[in-house]
Symmetry: D2
Subunit: 406 residues, 4 copies
Amino acid sequence: MKSKRKIINDPVFGFINIPNDFLYDIIQHRYFQRLGRIKQLGVSSFVYPGAQHTRLQHSLGAMYLTSEAVKELRSKGHEISEDETSGVMAAILLHDVGHGPYSHVLENTIIQDVSHETISVMLMEKINSEMGGKLDLAIKIFKNQYHKKFLHQLVSSQLDMDRLDYLLRDSFFTGVVEGVIGSARIIKMLDIADDKLVVEQKGIHSIENYLMARRFMYWQVYLHKTSLATELMLIKILKRAKFLSSNGAEIFAAPSLQYFLNNDINANNFQNFPQILENFVNIDDSDIISAIKVWAQNSDKVLSILSKNFTERKLFKTKEIEFVTKEEKINFSRQYIDNLNVSESEAKYFFGQKTVQQNTYDVKTDGISVLFSDGSLKDISQVSNILNPTILSQDVKKNYLCYLKI
Amino acid sequence: MKSKRKIINDPVFGFINIPNDFLYDIIQHRYFQRLGRIKQLGVSSFVYPGAQHTRLQHSLGAMYLTSEAVKELRSKGHEISEDETSGVMAAILLHDVGHGPYSHVLENTIIQDVSHETISVMLMEKINSEMGGKLDLAIKIFKNQYHKKFLHQLVSSQLDMDRLDYLLRDSFFTGVVEGVIGSARIIKMLDIADDKLVVEQKGIHSIENYLMARRFMYWQVYLHKTSLATELMLIKILKRAKFLSSNGAEIFAAPSLQYFLNNDINANNFQNFPQILENFVNIDDSDIISAIKVWAQNSDKVLSILSKNFTERKLFKTKEIEFVTKEEKINFSRQYIDNLNVSESEAKYFFGQKTVQQNTYDVKTDGISVLFSDGSLKDISQVSNILNPTILSQDVKKNYLCYLKI
Amino acid sequence: MKSKRKIINDPVFGFINIPNDFLYDIIQHRYFQRLGRIKQLGVSSFVYPGAQHTRLQHSLGAMYLTSEAVKELRSKGHEISEDETSGVMAAILLHDVGHGPYSHVLENTIIQDVSHETISVMLMEKINSEMGGKLDLAIKIFKNQYHKKFLHQLVSSQLDMDRLDYLLRDSFFTGVVEGVIGSARIIKMLDIADDKLVVEQKGIHSIENYLMARRFMYWQVYLHKTSLATELMLIKILKRAKFLSSNGAEIFAAPSLQYFLNNDINANNFQNFPQILENFVNIDDSDIISAIKVWAQNSDKVLSILSKNFTERKLFKTKEIEFVTKEEKINFSRQYIDNLNVSESEAKYFFGQKTVQQNTYDVKTDGISVLFSDGSLKDISQVSNILNPTILSQDVKKNYLCYLKI
Amino acid sequence: MKSKRKIINDPVFGFINIPNDFLYDIIQHRYFQRLGRIKQLGVSSFVYPGAQHTRLQHSLGAMYLTSEAVKELRSKGHEISEDETSGVMAAILLHDVGHGPYSHVLENTIIQDVSHETISVMLMEKINSEMGGKLDLAIKIFKNQYHKKFLHQLVSSQLDMDRLDYLLRDSFFTGVVEGVIGSARIIKMLDIADDKLVVEQKGIHSIENYLMARRFMYWQVYLHKTSLATELMLIKILKRAKFLSSNGAEIFAAPSLQYFLNNDINANNFQNFPQILENFVNIDDSDIISAIKVWAQNSDKVLSILSKNFTERKLFKTKEIEFVTKEEKINFSRQYIDNLNVSESEAKYFFGQKTVQQNTYDVKTDGISVLFSDGSLKDISQVSNILNPTILSQDVKKNYLCYLKI
């Protein structure tokens, strides 16, 4: 029988091998293919037009890096079986499978209290039952229930292959070269100690560089003020659509999106009603974008103004602020009430506040261990003179007022 | 007044400057922004997952290369005014503005006999009237009605900046490194003779390299058999949707797409009914993709089977053939009739033939002139020993049978 | 008359234009061409085999970045005349012209107390007199005697084009991707305030990234322990050769190198005896490498052992230490005395100590000013939360014991 | 025992693994290390300042590609043992070990009728005897005496890893992007049929692209007219030095170079007198460059003029010609006789003719076989419509007159 082994052209890593039929079948699964219709960086393409890459590309890249890491760890004498290799590769392939389109937006609007990790697990379990249990090990690794803990850490930890891929990939597609990290060097420095993924002593500077590059990408890309404003705009649009819909208005949307506009869905529902999950996996970027263009013609003034501006890239403006006084809020509302002839409650759709915070490294939650030649382990923050814990773990917070300019 | 000058991060060229408000306003125009929702390579992303880049990115890149070419020509003593520079930059920014989503598909299904160039001109004229005639010069250049013919050639000719950008860009995003061309070197070799864009003698090998890289990209990317099959699949889907719609069925679609499913539109209509153009510019990739997912649940068996397979990336298979005999067609039909329980006319939606042909260089239509140091001009095919006209202009044709595997 | 304008292919920046005959003549000057025979990173190629790039390439790259910076500053309304542009470009072209081969080695062995900056000025003045004073302005800028101080800062300061080029270039040729900096972005952020080169507020993160990348390159490349050990080995070889030579031995060397082996040269001599400078500019990497191979056959045991090991890449080993006790030194000596049958004073040539220190940013000497939108200026260390002055300016010091393994 | 496994940073391929001690020891051998002092492209750095990369880097790169090719062939079911893998990697590591500095120059001047391949074998055999026969298999593969012929083809054939590396590498360091080839894709297409390295059918376009890129590099880099002229200049210098030396003049040179200036060495001598080989491996670029600078001060007018001009990059000019008439030669001589006050025989050192020819593909000697899915093999020239044998194998010849401008 001819194997389904395949090679995929990746602009970041060159050729990516799919080493066996098990992984090939996961990649071909409709749940995974759906990630090819969801942009990795959501609204960032409004700021960085190159940022069109999808969650599918990222997942393949993370799988590639995982296979590289496994090779490296094996070459250092750590035993990792073929099944474990396939398992951890499957786990990382599927680590983002629960993401919806414009995740942060959705999680604030049409679904409530359901994290994408939870949905990822649900979907993995569905694929698993379709594949007759072949995903058992992958799911254990993903949930950190497998006895070799370091495998989970390849999928999810401060040193996971997820982050290594997305930093490189987002840097590549946005054109922000400052995010380039030495992923190959970091992988060469990986080792295992006490069943934990650790970094060799000579990798300290590589880790510093990686944390700094990540910090840069946060401020320059992920938390870019125009992206934040665009995200808020999208949230306001979806909230309005849902509000109208729940008040009986007929709002155009593909049926699966319609379903979420018409119903209030929370985590419990997800578990109990399978059609919710089916509807969820049916939604991708295209449904949101296609609907908003239709909403630009809606009779509701709030929905149509916001949707038209969004479609024409007339985005919310931003202003960095300390905080907003009640008075300012009233003044802000006033201009929309006066100029757009809307009510007070409607005026609130045209502006809002976004608070972002970013701390480069948090000893408590992050934990990157450095392995010294004498076998001892220390946290990176103890041995790096720039990753000073008191400095770096201090949250940096910014507040933006985002608003429609009229 | 603060100028609107801006810089855009481009992964291919680094930073792209928008040098003046005129060009900035074009870029901000809703017709141009719409290109950000249309993938440059249409269905190629099914084969090359990196190929998510948009027509907006390509248009900005072509504008950048045009500004570089103008700089080079000026440095060689050719006079090009500020207005002409802005004009040719505007012309190339808008050269693809008339493209719909999945252009080749649309032009074979929901619109008839209307080329995207025709629509580009219509849209330029609409923008021009909105901008009070500021686009007059750009439109003249685009239509080749301006007396300095070489400016048109920067926009559209064998040496235009359109091709230089798309080869580089498509190569970059697909990861097919063989398409990399020396665009900077080619631009350094450009000159003008007899009001024609020509290449200096020492650029002969660069031109050969460029034509060969283009040839490679055709076979490896643009005419990739799986892309062709996917395109055919998409054509079949839209034809079926239109067929059903015209027979009175209620087919889900965003209103603007609906409009084209319900009406037969040709070039004449476009000229005479402004709402057609408005509906056209309202359609982008998202409407097609969003609708097809809904169609996967349609009661019509043909539409639902094709749409479901398309969504789940179960694409048509291909078989290179000399030609298909009548008998083979009947046999092919038979399997669908038998297995899917469809009629003979319905069976035709599940397979089809694609013929592609590509000739690397055609002396009659292409014409790249080489300028020798004695001032004489010769066609590249006369001076290159590999671009032998009898060899290279011979059409290479391939036939593929594309079909749903069941 | 045909201009000598030329274009140079640079793997880092693509094509570099030489915009006028003045700059072309400098590049063609024998003093400048000599930089093409001196590796930018000296002995680093023993660790990073790709690091073969020359000081000539770096100087051309720095010239290119300077021309980009001038363009940017002009576009922000700052007046910089054609003469000033050529002047600052000439100054940076020649900023390293006084470097000898393996600079740090030479400055510790065959010449004494003469910095390469001093020699650069001497050589600029010689070129200037050959060119009839055309370099007057460039020299003024280089010496910081020109009234527009920011021009000097483009050549020499925390934000100079020298550093931007060398970081990028050294990163490119060593393959250490972590050194990649956003030079184009930094240049876009440059401005002038109070006749000082400053960075716009939104460039803060770019500067942080740049200082961190520089820090990384220091530890990973410039201060790599094997490079340090190799440098020490080279110093020991040259010291021995000079010692033998001054004791009357006939040591093979090209005459200009011979001259420095036979004579003790200090800064005063340089000023007073023109033949010293002539001999100095006649020496490059090839003389050192060629001589050492001959010395490997020398009858002096110390010189031949060290030279043979150097040539065969049997480099000094390193051991990080706090400090060396007198006892350890004696023990160390002992092994060479015993095994190689050398005297106590000869034994000292086979080992030594190297101390390196690096501080990322020093407020007192470095000074990068950030320009805020309200026109105020602040030092980067006051506004960056990671460039905390107490942390970052603290010197990091390492001691290595370097020794021949026997 | 700690293994000597090491990783080398390569700017072209990232990290290169040295998988075992055997290969590590070869790399550390003084014969191999010497390649780090010989530029891969000889005088090309006079035209492309980035072309400083060494034969050592190239050999490591070719080793890396060989290991990739072996991996690929194994994955297609071809058995290649660990010993064979190490053997073929050792063979390609050492394939260029017999190169002297500026090979083409040396082979025309100070050595006669000795190809670098012959010297490579001699050196491999010397290393082999030092290593107790461990190189037996590698030498068999290199000499094509091993029964698995395809292993030799990885080292030397139209599809060898030598060419794949040098095209990519030379393209990278010169900055001539047009030479970029899809080495990874070509390797993915490799297979074995009838014990021969072949290319899968779907690799036809990749091979076309590769041959075209190679053709481009020939004209743009390897046969660049200024490189040719510089090479001729170097030949004239060495010939003159040898002439003077053989006439009893004392010509400065490092002893090993001196040896070749003083003695006429041919292939027979090499075999019979071991000191010849020892002297040969002692010479590298540095000896040539260092000596020429000294010769610039030589009392012989011919030697000093040529050497001074070479050092100061005042290179021979070129003129493309059909042929040179006897009369022209006399006229040319005349100007040097008159202006430089030299004799007729001396005048001949100041000019000369260079003939270059390049054919892209020669069916008779090249032979790239394509494997079709039905198992049949055809030569690429039969199946590619651009690699038409009558066109492409026709030699393209150019004649240049190269001369010192006075």
